[in-house]
Symmetry: C2
Subunit: 456 residues, 2 copies
């Protein structure tokens, strides 16, 4: 079967790329209202492309915002079902004068296709569409059931996605969600992003007297809100750089020795990181490397603080109020709601008597983790390895990708982040491009992945 798909993909490569160029010519910029009709046009174009690829039940589904293109092929009873997510909207092309060719007139140079949206995310979603076509035309069927949803609002933080997925949860039900919208480790080295951190953000306000007081008349005699806040903030970490909030680590899934080995393999040199950041030393929880601390360990960071008079010169007051903002990055299986409670308890315990502190919950997102030994991950890693002839790196990210949270939370299925972009493909910048070697190997990897899922 592999021979059939490879041969089909190779024979139809020229056409596949010509079609990709058509897709890239549509300036589907979701951030600019004057391009709204282009975004709609792009959805139309994609619905035609899905049908042409052999997918069924293709429809342009409305949302409160820009439409989502749906299509499926569900004729493999008893086989797994995967949901492929991609987005067809793009960032604006500015600054235009830094482009070497027109952002919406794709050209191929040195095996790379240049255009706005090339790597983010049009060529990556196109790989999956063409993989479906390849199977359906070359083999006559797919080795599993597949559903596509292609979004038009990713670059404006996907406001309609969660309601859409929630509303259509039954229709979108799948055994795994596959997303190709992240980078490989480097050229020729495939990667699977299997973990992301969640977030829990709070604002803390510390209140002392009714008003700021003159430090000559009251200094030394009354509580100082900044002192109390500084003491509280200092209490959030112990001497080993660990978060000292009771219970904070209770739900943290520990790194296995194998994972640590994997992360070490993909880690940047810490000396280089220090130099880039202008730091003489890195910092954090003892016993973990920089990469582990920033991707697989949770953290509590004060992101901002203010209190008293911070203008020019010194205003001699005892400040009556001070506030701080905190962003915790969470890892599986921590839950923002629980972390909020633990922080609230910590604040209550560490507020000196005579002062009042309040905690406001302002930001939350779940961490993401598809265990590296999950069958769907094992299949994905093996498929990539087969296509690239290189071991697949298993990486974790320190930030959050809200759509991943949406799918995990609402569809309760593992997410596979199988990215085919490269870190230097100028995403969101002039001269965005996509390496066609990854189009070919990616298409091959996706086909192998599907077959492997079939055989599990």
């Amino acid at each position: 079967m592999k021979a059939k798909t490879e041969s089909y993909a190779s024979q139809h490569r020229e056409r596949h790329l010509e079609e990709l160029k058509e897709l890239l010519r549509i300036p589907s910029i979701s951030t600019l209202s004057e391009h709204k009709k282009d975004v709609h046009r792009c959805a139309e174009w994609l619905s035609g492309a899905l049908t042409h690829a052999g997918l069924e039940n293709v429809e342009i589904m409305p949302t409160a915002g820009l439409p989502i293109v749906y299509g499926d092929w569900l004729h493999a009873p008893g086989k797994p079902t995967i949901l492929v997510y991609g987005h067809y909207d793009v960032q604006p092309a500015d600054p235009l004068d830094e482009w070497h060719s027109e952002p919406f007139e794709p050209v191929i140079r040195d095996g790379k296709i240049y255009a706005r949206g090339a790597t983010d995310d049009k060529a990556q979603l196109w790989i999956h569409v063409k993989a479906a076509e390849t199977f359906l035309k070359a083999v006559g069927s797919l080795p599993l059931n597949i559903k596509f949803i292609l979004e038009g609002e990713e670059e404006i933080t996907s406001p309609s996605l969660a309601p859409f997925v929630e509303k259509h949860a039954e229709k979108l039900k799948a055994d795994a969600i596959v997303i190709s919208d992240s980078p490989m480790l480097e050229r020729g080295k495939p990667a699977l992003l299997y973990g992301l951190r969640g977030v829990a953000g709070v604002e803390i306000e510390m209140l002392a007297a009714r008003n700021d007081l003159h430090s000559g008349l009251y200094g030394g005699g009354v509580p100082n809100a900044v002192h109390a806040l500084a003491g509280l903030l200092d209490s959030f970490h112990d001497e080993d750089g660990r978060v000292a909030v009771e219970g904070f680590y209770d739900r943290v899934i520990q790194l296995t020795e194998q994972e640590r080995g994997e992360l070490a393999r993909v880690s940047q040199d810490e000396g280089k990181i220090r130099e880039d950041l202008g730091l003489s030393e890195l910092f954090g929880e003892k016993g973990y490397t920089f990469t582990e601390r920033t991707t697989a360990r949770p953290t509590l960071e004060v992101t901002g603080i203010s209190g008293g008079f911070a203008g020019e010169g010194i205003k001699p007051i005892v400040p009556a109020r001070a506030s701080a903002k905190i962003a915790c990055r969470l890892v599986a299986d921590q839950r923002p709601e629980e972390i909020f409670e633990l922080i609230e308890r910590h604040v209550a315990v560490h507020t000196p008597s005579g002062l009042k502190a309040s905690v406001k919950r302002v930001l939350q997102g779940n961490p993401f983790l598809t265990p590296a030994d999950h069958p769907v991950m094992v299949a994905a890693a093996a498929a990539l390895e087969e296509a690239y002839g290189e071991k697949t790196a298993l990486t974790r990210g320190g930030g959050s990708i809200p759509i991943v949270d949406v799918f995990e939370r609402l569809l309760q299925a593992p997410v596979v982040m199988m990215g085919f972009g490269l870190p230097d493909e100028n995403l969101h910048a002039p001269n965005e491009h996509f390496d066609l070697d990854n189009f070919d190997k990616g298409l091959q990897a996706v086909c192998v992945f599907w077959e492997k899922l079939d055989n599990q």
Copy 2:
């Protein structure tokens, strides 16, 4: 002699008050440039008044700003010399519509004279001028040597006073400096303010990475400037509310049991203070009362803090810089220069490795203390007691009065702060007034004070 002075003062009271009204009619507002000529006119008027009182060598001495009026009487060889300081400039009268009578058309109602500058400081300086006249006319001589300097820039923080005193230090040399520009404890209860706190103000900046870093990518892996600053600020105090900067208290003159008794006698009820400030608890160095902590003990207060992003919402960063402003209030014999050094050392020791902290010295002033058992204080207290028939309260202030520092530092003589104002005489506010009972008793007290100094 006392009979003679009392009788003269009483006979000439009407004229003294008419003259005071003339002085109060001059709108010598130093803060408003359009009143510059009124300030000069006031200096002219006062030079005439000093001459008329019998003082000699009267002159209007120029400064870089507004003039200082000088006059002396130095015919008591072997007797002490005192320097009397007062200021003839006043605050603006706004808001005008809240005055019950014209601010610069003095009227006497219920034994009080109403006008801008009545209590601050024209009536108070007038007491000393008329005391000199009383002695010189009724007795023919003064019991000691006296020098007057009357300033026209006190309400604009006396920018020319220090250079003036420094330049004329020999001419102004005295055994004691007497200032009547502070309040009595309350009606009928005389007070001597014998201590004020000095100040040492610094700005601390904490620097981590070259720029703010994304908390998703770097959180948990790099130093956070706000965390480091919070830890540093928290290290400034120990659990007993004492300043934990090594050596901070080394030069602090301890309160005597007698002083503590005096301060207790004049202290406000702490329950009342709490209520006024909206606090459930007061706070500060263990083992001292609120009044002691805010007047006779030094303090270190963070007056302002900023770092990271403090706008609306949470910007998920690891802040690269944070800064705090600190104002220490100092007591005798602490010296700002030494405190700066101690703080700098403390900051160096408490800055975590990997971060850089800097300390900028921005504000300094010496504390003031004339020991309560100093002969000049004993004489002043006895004179007030004699005039008022009430024990003189010995009080300390928690703030700073820069002119006191100037005199102590540059003339190296004890300062006696013998105020005749009342706390509710609307200084700097509409309907400023001065109680004429304190004009009469004040004049008598000053005369007795001079005689007592003579007899020491």
